[in-house]
């Protein structure tokens, strides 16, 4: 029992960055844009989010307040990702370049920017960028009081995570509501399914695509910051983020383009990532165990393509640019 709770607890913590990465990409893909630059945006978010918290603490000194640092880190990470996504949007939506190639270019660019900023800060600050332990607790500890956390079983299962897990769940619920219940959400889905129809219905295609991609990119980038501030321990390390962003792109399929599904999918992937520590299987070495998430994604991909259920399909125009003049 205890081992199971511990597994779930660690799975949620490991999955938290993926929640953001995936939700952001879900929003992006709902508009018909396949942005393969998630890895790059998460790198940017990670480096700039850490930088925001670090320089805020440096300026404020001992008076630095934890909540302010958390908010600043979120805002700066969001802005970094939104900036990357804006470049992507301009090139693919306004200038109609190929989405895959532009996304990959964004990946290269974003990884470069992230590592550059991380490295530059490290050199500037004499070899080490890390925030103080006092501030770290705000990023890594539960926002709930000890009395709530102390409830047996439920306390650890529900109330012991860091604040980012709860924010992710709130974003997921809001996004699900937005996509399925609001008029703007309906318009957005229409844009992703059939831009020509949506255009004929008087929906401003470009506006929806831009907004969804930029906001989605921002949300994805927060995931990078969460990774650096929680799993990586508030320190910039060179290859710390490797693969998270790509995994997020895969998870979008796994969760069938549903934001709430993204949360559960991220937890499942988080579990797969740490299972090798918690649940040893004889004869299977750790390193092979670690590729389990990727194999599972492949199986899901195949399964989705085998059983073509309409509600499980990707947005119909995913990956295609829309040229009104081409009709």
């Amino acid at each position: 029992m205890n081992a199971l709770i511990l597994l779930i607890y660690n799975a949620v913590l490991n999955g938290a960055p993926l929640m953001y990465g995936t939700m952001g990409e879900v929003l992006t893909e709902k508009s018909g844009n396949l942005n393969l630059g998630v890895e790059g945006m998460m790198y940017m978010g990670g480096a700039i989010g850490l930088g925001a918290a670090f320089y805020y603490e440096k300026m404020a000194g001992a008076a630095a307040s934890g909540p302010v640092a958390v908010v600043l880190a979120i805002l700066f990470a969001f802005a970094a990702g939104a900036f990357g996504a804006l470049i992507y949007s301009w090139i693919t939506i306004s200038l109609r370049a190929n989405q895959n190639v532009t996304g990959l270019a964004l990946s290269i660019f974003g990884t470069g920017v992230g590592q550059f900023i991380g490295e530059y800060m490290r050199v500037q600050e004499g070899g080490f960028v890390a925030i103080s332990n006092g501030l770290k607790t705000f990023f890594q500890n539960s926002p709930f009081p000890a009395s709530v956390r102390g409830i047996p079983v439920l306390g650890q299962l529900l109330f012991s995570y860091n604040i980012f897990v709860y924010i992710a769940i709130i974003i997921a619920l809001l996004m699900a509501r937005f996509l399925n219940k609001s008029r703007a959400g309906l318009h957005l889905r229409a844009v992703g399914e059939s831009p020509a129809t949506a255009d004929a219905a008087g929906i401003d295609i470009s506006k929806y695509k831009y907004l969804a991609t930029v906001i989605g990119g921002g949300i994805s980038a927060i995931g990078g910051m969460v990774y650096i501030m929680t799993i990586a321990g508030c320190v910039w390390n060179h290859d710390g983020l490797a693969g998270e962003g790509w995994l997020a792109v895969a998870l979008v399929i796994f969760c069938l383009w549903k934001p709430v599904g993204a949360v559960f999918g991220a937890v499942l992937f988080g579990a797969l990532m740490i299972m090798y520590v918690r649940v040893q299987i004889p004869m299977v070495p750790d390193q092979l165990y670690k590729i389990l998430p990727y194999i599972v994604t492949v199986l899901v991909l195949i399964a989705v393509s085998l059983r073509r259920k309409r509600e499980n399909e990707p947005p119909a125009s995913l990956g295609l640019s829309y040229f009104r003049e081409d009709r």
Binding site: N100, F109, G112, D199, D204
Partner: protein, 384 residues
């Protein structure tokens, strides 16, 4: 006819543009990218001219540096060539990274087990064949599912990267580990290493031959023609009696085989051993190289050499001017962005309002597309 709802500008596809003008636009956008890079250097308090000079001299001036640059360009060019046929039929193979690793893995198997016993030419040929075969098979698995069930190949090939890299990590720390606990696979015996020509492993000759081959394959051969037809329209290909699934799998196998060959060149030419990041992001960068070259093999030579210059030069930049070498990724990204963006101005023309006719003037200019309220009536004309 031309009411007040007419937008500020509209776009039309351009017919053929004169070649000279096309290249002027490309040169201008490349220059713009360099200017953005210069601004970045200026912000860092470095002299942009000096920085660029360091990049160029650091990668080309000395023979040893030049050799390094060629060494970086070889896998990049090889992988771009490999990807060209895939992209020709709009098959998004972003698994080159994994296919390179797969090829490297297969080559390593023979180098470790038979590297000392077999004769030099035999071992090298067997390693190359094994690398091609395994790279090809690794690529063909997603292609099979694409052809059979229309499984999304972009993400499938991406996942295949991480699976094979995981396998290499396991081999590194397990069955093929050299010293216990080192996590390193032992170096190949000299017998299993490629000979050097002008100080660089002979892979560069192979890659140049491959460039010529790929040019003829894509433009002059029947298979290349089939690829082009599928790229334009799968339905046309079917109607013409082509077995699309068969062609897709065959082409992707070829692509993966060349990636595998690149993996072989990298292991037994440059590195002399196998490790998890043997592909080092080449698989992703090569995609953009292939696309920017518009699948023209000779253009790929120029672009991959340019990126190699940036990459090697940035290393020099780090040691001489204390700029982190990841600046090369930023510059690469900016150049890619601006080259992608400039194609728009080659393919489309922007017709300003009132350019073709004397529409009413004097009212507030309507903001361009993207800034109007959603329920704005769509009454503007659609003359093209």
């Amino acid at each position: 006819m031309h009411n007040e709802k007419q937008p500020l500008f509209h776009l039309a596809r351009r017919d053929e543009m004169p070649k000279s003008k096309v290249w002027m636009i490309r040169a201008a956008s490349f220059l713009a990218a360099l200017l953005i890079g210069a601004a970045l250097f200026a912000v860092l308090g470095k002299n942009p001219m000096e920085a660029y000079a360091t990049i160029v001299t650091g990668s080309l001036a000395k023979p040893s540096a030049l050799r390094q640059t060629v060494k970086i360009a070889v896998p990049l060019l090889g992988t771009s060539l490999a990807l060209a046929p895939c992209f020709g039929m709009r098959y998004w193979n972003i698994g080159a990274e994994g296919q390179i690793t797969a090829g490297a893995l297969a080559a390593t198997y023979f180098a470790l087990h038979f590297g000392k016993t077999w004769s030099h030419p035999v071992i090298l040929i067997v390693m190359a064949a094994a690398a091609c075969l395994f790279g090809g098979i690794w690529a063909a698995i997603p292609a099979f599912f694409k052809a059979r069930y229309n499984t999304n190949e972009t993400l499938f090939t991406l996942m295949m990267n991480y699976i094979i890299i995981g396998v290499v990590r396991w081999l590194q720390g397990g069955p093929w580990e050299g010293k216990p606990g080192s996590q390193i696979i032992p170096m190949f015996p000299d017998n299993a290493m490629l000979p050097k020509v002008f100080g660089v492993h002979c892979g560069w000759i192979i890659i140049i031959l491959l460039t010529v081959f790929m040019y003829f394959y894509l433009t002059k051969m029947k298979q290349g023609y089939e690829i082009a037809v599928i790229g334009d329209s799968v339905n046309t290909a079917r109607y013409a009696g082509m077995n699309v699934g068969h062609i897709v799998i065959r082409t992707v196998f070829l692509s993966g085989a060349i990636c595998g060959l690149v993996g072989y060149l990298v292991t037994c030419g440059a590195n002399g051993t196998l490790y998890d990041s043997v592909a080092a992001g080449v698989g992703f960068t090569a995609i953009t190289v292939a696309w920017l070259a518009q699948l023209n093999p000779f253009a790929m030579i120029a672009i991959s050499l340019m990126l190699a210059v940036l990459s090697k030069g940035a290393g020099t930049l780090q040691t001489r001017m204390e700029v982190p070498s990841s600046v090369s990724d930023i510059l690469t990204g900016v150049i890619l962005f601006s080259m992608l963006a400039c194609e728009f101005f080659i393919n489309y023309k922007i017709i300003l309002r009132g350019h073709q006719n004397d529409g009413p003037r004097g009212f507030d200019p309507v903001p361009p597309k993207g800034a109007k309220p959603a329920d704005d009536g769509r009454t503007e004309g659609k003359e093209g």
